[in-house]
């Protein structure tokens, strides 16, 4: 597989939608992606896990927010952040019958715009693992019982000890661009799951993927995908950055193949995020972190680098020009590595130490766009056009 003809690169300005532990920020570029201007904070003091632009109208923004004290919610803007309204009915589990223990959404973690043909449709993933849908641009949300009430859900997701330190998450909600009914989700923990009927039924999709923290290292479910991506122009090609390495799947084969074993041994293939080239399904970028001993979750050796593969994971190249050479003990979370659709592709990431880094040439050189922000949870690149 190589570059797919006919997919025209984007031109013009780019916005970076930045979610942090203390609010949301927006960085906007000029048409050449050389100068950037930072605006914010929006929702100052809120924990913002994700801020996403609706690519169907390029105006609607959704923000997943909560504070340390208050319950979770979703804010929405239909004018690219000039004004905001709170969802009338944020994602929430159904009230349990009297005497039964019901589940509570702790925070909304992931937002995905629905299929291009379904204007106003959005999907949200929560902690603990729950899947929700909005049909009205994020104003009201309903649980998807096909997942949330699935008889296997408790077994798939495990118990409290199977979550991340910040709570178990449902993330990486992927919609097949050819078929609005075909969905994938990732769960930490739980694994990757697939639905072909709009979320009415689900089945595990974890063959070949390791879970070295379980007695059976290749179980049907229970893996810990950190970030799953589907190539928009080759939707049968999936990649994931997992707790146990980097994987690729050709959907027809239905089996994950570990492609991270060709990473340098000193660096390893553990990390949170993974990003794909918008036009070439063989090109991907990851940001490795230290997953040895007690899992420091920082750049290996304090020397941060993006790693790129241009042959679907057979070989990897270190990209660190412009990044700190030593003593940089940060990492990049699963929603905080993003790419634009320009040629050459722009790569952007936000760090746990509050910096935003960018490369306008596919990683050959990085520059720092912003420092001293709060801990960055998410960075989404959005095309603004001319």
């Amino acid at each position: 597989m190589s570059r797919i003809p006919g997919a025209a690169p984007a031109r013009g300005r780019v916005a970076l939608l930045v979610g942090t532990r203390k609010g949301a920020f927006i960085l906007k570029s000029d048409a050449g992606r050389r100068r950037w201007r930072l605006a914010g904070p929006h929702f100052f003091g809120h924990i913002v896990h994700h801020m996403v632009l609706d690519p169907r109208d390029r105006k609607t923004l959704l923000v997943a927010a909560r504070t340390g004290h208050l319950g979770p919610t979703v804010f929405r803007s239909v004018d690219f952040g000039r004004s905001w309204r709170e969802a009338k009915r944020p994602p929430a589990f159904p009230k349990a019958p009297e005497g039964a223990k019901g589940r509570e959404v702790d925070h909304v973690f992931w937002l995905t715009p629905g299929h291009a043909s379904e204007r106003g449709a959005w999907l949200a993933g929560t902690s603990p693992q729950g899947l929700f849908r909005s049909a009205d641009g994020g104003a009201t949300w309903d649980p998807l019982p096909g997942f949330n009430e699935h008889p296997m859900r408790e077994k798939w997701t495990g118990g409290e000890q199977d979550g991340t330190p910040d709570g178990p998450k449902l993330h990486s909600i992927l919609v097949d661009p050819r078929d609005a009914a075909h969905l994938y989700i990732g769960m930490s923990s739980g694994g990757v799951f697939e639905s072909r009927d709009r979320g009415a039924s689900w089945r595990p999709l974890n063959a070949g993927c390791r879970a070295d923290f379980l007695p059976d290292p290749y179980p049907e479910y229970g893996q810990d995908p950190h970030c799953v991506r589907l190539h928009p122009l080759a939707p049968d090609r999936l990649y994931q950055q997992n707790h146990c390495g980097i994987y690729r799947m050709e959907r027809a084969e239905g089996r994950w193949v570990r492609i991270g074993e060709s990473m340098p041994r000193k660096v390893g293939d553990i990390g949170f995020p993974l990003a794909l080239h918008p036009r070439d399904p063989d090109v991907l970028w990851v940001f490795p972190m230290d997953g040895t001993s007690v899992w420091p979750r920082t750049s290996p050796g304090g020397k941060p680098a993006v790693y790129a593969s241009r042959d679907a994971g057979r070989r990897w190249r270190r990209l660190d020009r412009g990044l700190p050479r030593a003593q940089a003990w940060w990492t990049v979370k699963r929603q905080a590595l993003s790419v634009d659709a320009h040629d050459p592709v722009g790569i952007y990431f936000g760090t746990t130490s509050g910096e935003i880094w960018a490369s306008a040439d596919e990683g050959r050189r990085f520059t720092c766009l912003a420092r001293n922000l709060p801990h960055v949870y998410s960075v989404e690149a959005a095309e603004l056009g001319a």
């Binding site: 208050l70 009338k88 944020p90 589990f93």
Partner: protein, 86 residues
């Protein structure tokens, strides 16, 4: 009855820290508060009708732990966000 609103929730009340609500129970008063200030209840009370972990509600300076706590017209409700976080 009067309801004292903490700064964390003042965005909902137009930055009023003392508002009014009515109801024969705490649940009814919070429902009335949500009618006046949409969205405020879910930030305080979960979908399982539990007062959230870092929120305390006092009725006449006594902590109310259940939403079926009875109220009288002259009671004062105080909503407090716990001292936690970082």
């Amino acid at each position: 009855m009067n309801v004292l609103i903490p700064s964390n929730l003042a965005d909902y009340t137009g930055h009023e820290h003392r508002v009014t609500a009515s109801g024969a129970t705490l649940a009814e008063a919070l429902a009335d508060l949500d009618r006046r200030y949409p969205g405020i209840r879910f930030r305080i009370v979960s979908e399982q009708d539990r007062i959230r972990r870092h929120v305390k509600i006092f009725v006449n300076r006594e902590q109310a732990k259940r939403l079926d706590a009875p109220l009288a017209a002259r009671d004062e409700i105080m909503i407090v966000c716990a001292l936690s976080g970082g």
